[in-house]
């Protein structure tokens, strides 16, 4: 969510290693921030690792249990299913905004009347408070009285049960995620489109290529680095999704939308199994790092 600039940053630092700047004195610029980061980010990490090796109950004792929490996780069907659900949710919440975001970027790259207004409206969801919007969505989903089923009926489609059925709950939550985050993908890709050179298109035009051929053979390959940046950001954010799911379904119906984040929250703050929850954090984080590495590797290949 902090935009393309961020990952663009790593790109520059990792690949374009120019001559090292002469001064180590620049460390002083980083120190104050480093202290805060250490306190708020590194401390929690160390402490989480410590807790995950203990039977850490709220208010109760803390007994050293070694890897017992992790061993329990491996056998916990509810946890394993929550991983699968998270991956399912993430896959959909990455692919759909990517496709739609690309279409939107292509549309907004063209000049048309009221473009500025349309673009502003389009990016509003990205800024809207997720909790507030989630509550409104909940009201829209009511299977008998909700406005969405009425709209479906108007265009001749059968009503849906939205978040009220195990089969449709995740796609519905994905729909909200798409609503929120397609604009970010669009913005990143819009930046990409603006930077494309004109020459290849002119050459293609002379060769008599159709618009689609130009898109497929020129735009898409040139846009690839931007697509990868968007892909990485989207994957990370989809994995972190919590607010909307918590407010709307709290993991239900049954456990149909219980993603790792929800499972983690329940273990920690509803069942007070802090040690066990910490083990979930560690495993979850490892999964994220693994995925991030796969994505970075993909990016390196795209660049090559």
């Amino acid at each position: 969510m902090d935009g393309a600039a961020s990952l663009a940053g790593t790109a520059a630092t990792t690949t374009r290693r120019r001559r090292r700047n002469y001064s180590r004195r620049y460390w002083w610029f980083v120190v104050p921030c480093g202290v805060v980061v250490l306190a708020t980010i590194i401390f929690p990490w160390v402490f989480t690792l410590y807790m995950s090796a203990h039977d850490f109950k709220l208010g109760g004792g803390r007994e050293y249990v070694g890897f017992a929490n992790y061993l329990k996780l491996v056998e916990d069907e509810r946890f394993l299913l929550s991983i699968l659900r998270t991956l399912y949710f993430t896959a959909l919440s990455v692919v759909l905004p990517m496709v739609l975001g690309l279409l939107a970027a292509l549309a907004f790259h063209r000049k048309f009347p009221l473009r500025g207004l349309a673009r502003t409206i389009f990016i509003l969801p990205m800024m809207a408070t997720p909790v507030a919007v989630a509550l409104v969505w909940t009201m829209m989903f009511h299977p008998q009285l909700g406005v969405l089923n009425w709209l479906l009926q108007q265009v001749g489609l059968p009503p849906s049960l939205w978040v009220y059925a195990p089969e449709t709950v995740i796609p519905t939550l994905v729909m909200i995620e798409v609503w929120h985050w397609t604009p970010l993908v669009m913005l990143i890709l819009l930046g990409g489109l603006a930077s494309l050179p004109i020459d290849p298109y002119e050459a293609a035009k002379i060769d008599g290529a159709t618009a689609f051929q130009a898109f497929w053979h020129i735009t898409l390959p040139l846009l690839a680095p931007f697509l990868v940046v968007a892909l990485i950001i989207r994957t990370i954010d989809a994995l972190k999704a919590f607010d909307t799911i918590y407010v709307i379904t709290q993991g239900g119906p049954g456990t149909a939308s219980e993603t790792i984040n929800i499972f983690l929250y329940l273990q920690a703050f509803a069942y007070y199994n802090l040690g066990y929850a910490s083990a979930v954090v560690v495993v979850f984080f490892s999964i994220i790092i693994l995925l991030a590495m796969v994505l970075l590797w993909t990016r390196a290949r795209v660049r090559a």
């Binding site: 709220l58 009511h142 008998q144 009220y164 059925a165 239900g252 119906p253």
Partner: protein, 444 residues
Amino acid sequence: MTQGITRRTALAAGGALLAAPPIVRQANAQSAFDWKRFSGERIEVSLTANPRSTILIQNQREFEDMTGIRVGAEQIPEQQHRQKFAIEFASGRPSFDVVGISLHVNKRQVGRARWCTDIKALMADASITSPDFDFADFGAGAVEYSTQSDGRMDTIPEFTDYFILYYNKELLAAKNIAVPTTFDEMYDSAKRLTEPSRQIYGNVGRGLRNANVVLYSSFLLGTQQRDFLDAQRRLISDSPDAIWAGEFYKKLLRDCSPPGVSGFNWNECQTTFMQGRAAYWLDGVGFAAPLEDRTRSRVAGKVGYAVVPRGPANHHCAMFGTGFGIAEQSRKKGAAWYYLQWASGKANQLRYLTSGAGSPARTSPYRNEEAISQSRFSREFFNTLIASARISRPGLPEIVPVTEFRDTIGAALTSTIGGADVGNELRRATEAFRPVLEASERAA
């Protein structure tokens, strides 16, 4: 019912509470009770968000004026509230002096950790207990519910919640259907009332995991077994009786309830029922107020009330309860105890009843014929409450990991609405939860 106490006398009693302090103060400044004794102190009160807490917060000035104690009270949604106070208690530094506790969820947790102080000790001290407090007025069941197994009473009873049957009089009359008195009648008539083409359903009820366990236990209570635990506190939620109750739950929610019910909590049920789209709704008594509210409900004036139908072996309705506790860590126990006396006093308890905010733990409001006859609720409603009190039985087991229990069993029940086999689901859930319960019981 006794005609003894009228509304006027009850109000007079309330008035006397208000008027008493100066007189008492004059009478004896030394050891006698004095409402102003803790004047100037400030207490923090943490309540669950519900209509009863709203009443207390709205009338808080009355207490502040009477005692000179400043109150910082807040109400937050129940799930967050339960988590929050447990976390704060566990940290050893709760931010509140008084806390509202759902006994059906947190009783054992609070009791075992001794988070709340024993009210009996405070009550025994005549210098800080109002002569009008009248502890004998509290219903025996409510007092028992507030009392821990070791005899400490660490909460003062506030409210006993019974599951009752709400029904839509118009829908029943249109098909000439009598109010069901047994589960079988309920199912059969619900089936007849269901007309999906008109979006009318015979029943609506909680299907969402966790929330749905209390509806399921309404059915379990009608069996021979009745409870989730046996006498040795072992989990028996996979017995034939438990499976029978699950089958009933499944068919009622699957055959006669609106599609999507497996994701319904009380608020979706309420919306559906309020729009006149369901004939039956089994849920807590507190929903009468919104259902009879003409500004938001299309069924106001058309709602019927009845006790939960009889089961195959027993006739019970699920009971839940809340109480007010005083944090053991509080340094203002005196002022907090004053707040409890006011909050659970006769005046507020009567307000609960007549505003339909819930069934009070005291018995005097029910005997207040005048208040009842002037209430906007029907006589049928009050009779249902009184009848429910006679057949009530705790709807959830008294265990520490209640939330995890409700999540586990609830998820199983939700999948049965989707068509899963009841026996398999309940056996799986029971197996999954049994070790959690055993670990928790060992820790005791």
